[in-house]
Symmetry: C7
Subunit: 96 residues, 7 copies
């Protein structure tokens, strides 16, 4: 199953952030107010402007993005949870 | 009885989502915050922009769509409940 | 007495919805959150856009319409209650 | 004393609505949520649009109008209370 | 000391309203929800529209105006209290 | 240290208002709802309009301005508190 | 790891403000309502206007900026906390 987002929405697969202590032990990040990371898996055609034009979403499939913890709505696709959110909710793109 | 939606409204027949356990038992999805799925059964002419133009709705009859649990208003047509919602409330189109 | 609605307002005469049980007994619909139906009895000239143009209301006298239970304001005309609402409040037109 | 309303404001003299019972006894309407009626006694030049143009108010002095009970602000002119409201607050014009 | 209002603001000197009883005794108006009157003593250059133009304020110094009781902010100029408000807050101009 | 305000922001150095009694004793103004005065010490380039143009701020360094008590945000520059506010928050310019 | 901000967002590395007492002892500033300072480490392409154009952000990497204490969202990049905020949240640029 695939989802085609409408307008300026994107679909993002959340990537669990981890934190490594000095001794190398990985502990999950519990601070609820930190943004989350994810991978863009689908991008809508763009924002439909009131002058009749479409402004393309400034993201592409595969982009690793940062977004607020409460951004988007969770959708289950083939048993896997993904997030549908607006381009507006994306804070930035993580570059390797 | 048929309903012709105005402007950018669409009429959606809800499809009950199901969840199958490992043993194959189907249990209804009880998590209230997950989006719902439905089939588009009628599409309005489009959004009437303030510059006098009409922007066609980016959906067609038969599309299987995702929408938030609280989207739209329930209308009973010939004893069957359907939802009237705005294109804006549709998160995406499910592609087979 | 007749009322001429201003701008994109329409006047609607409510039609009481009924529900027939399997045995044919008609019981009034008590679910408060279902939209109501009515007949359009007057239509304003249209929405006055900020660019100076008027966008005609996409409804005509005689249309049977669906609207939310709390849409519009009740006005008594010649002892009969009617609703004055905006085109925006109309969910769709019921086609026979 | 006369008041010249600014922009899209109008001045309305309220007309007390009455209700006649089957036996002909007139009883005042006590239902607080019904719109009121009034006569337009002054009309502003129109709404000043952001493109620099003025959109004339679609009302004239002498029009009998319907408006919501809480529309406008009461002003006392020569000992008589009138209402200053926006064209937007007028639901419709009562035609004889 | 003089104040030059910015944009579409005007400066208004409040005029205390009075009420004369049948017997001619003047009693101050205590009804808190009635609009107040005042004299315009300064007028800003106009509203700066988003298209870069300026829309002149439709008032002039000396105009006697009506405004809501809670309109504007009180400023003390040379020991005298005046009100700084927007043209938008002026309900109308009292004509003699 | 100097601050260059962005867009339509201005930096204002508050001037403490004083009140002189009939006998000449100066007492500080305690009424919290009176606007404050200040001197403009920096002016941003102007408001960036959505049509791509910039509308210059209608103020200059040295202007003595009136503003609401809760306007702006306090910033400490070289140990001295100043206010960063929008042109919008300035009620008027005091002319000597 | 680097973050590329979208639209008119910027990434800011907070600079801890300090206060030195007369005797030279540095004490941290505890007043929660004072703006914070930071250094711009990344700048988005600009605000996407509804007319299809892009308005460049009026900031550059290296600018020392003032912003409100609650501006932006904290993001951890390579173990270091930075803030993602909008150009709108920046009060001004500190010039040496």
């Amino acid at each position: 199953m695939k989802i085609r987002p409408l307008h300026d929405r994107v679909i993002v697969k959340r990537i669990e952030a981890e934190r490594t202590t000095a001794s190398g032990i990985v502990i999950p990040d519990s601070a609820g107010e930190k943004p989350d990371q994810g991978e863009v898996i689908a991008v809508g055609p763009g924002k439909f402007l009131d002058n009749g034009e479409v402004r393309r979403v400034d993201l592409k499939v595969g982009d690793r993005v940062l977004f607020g913890k409460y951004a988007g709505q969770t959708v289950k696709v083939d048993g896997q949870e993904v997030l549908v959110m607006r381009e507006e909710d994306i804070l930035g793109v993580v570059e390797a």
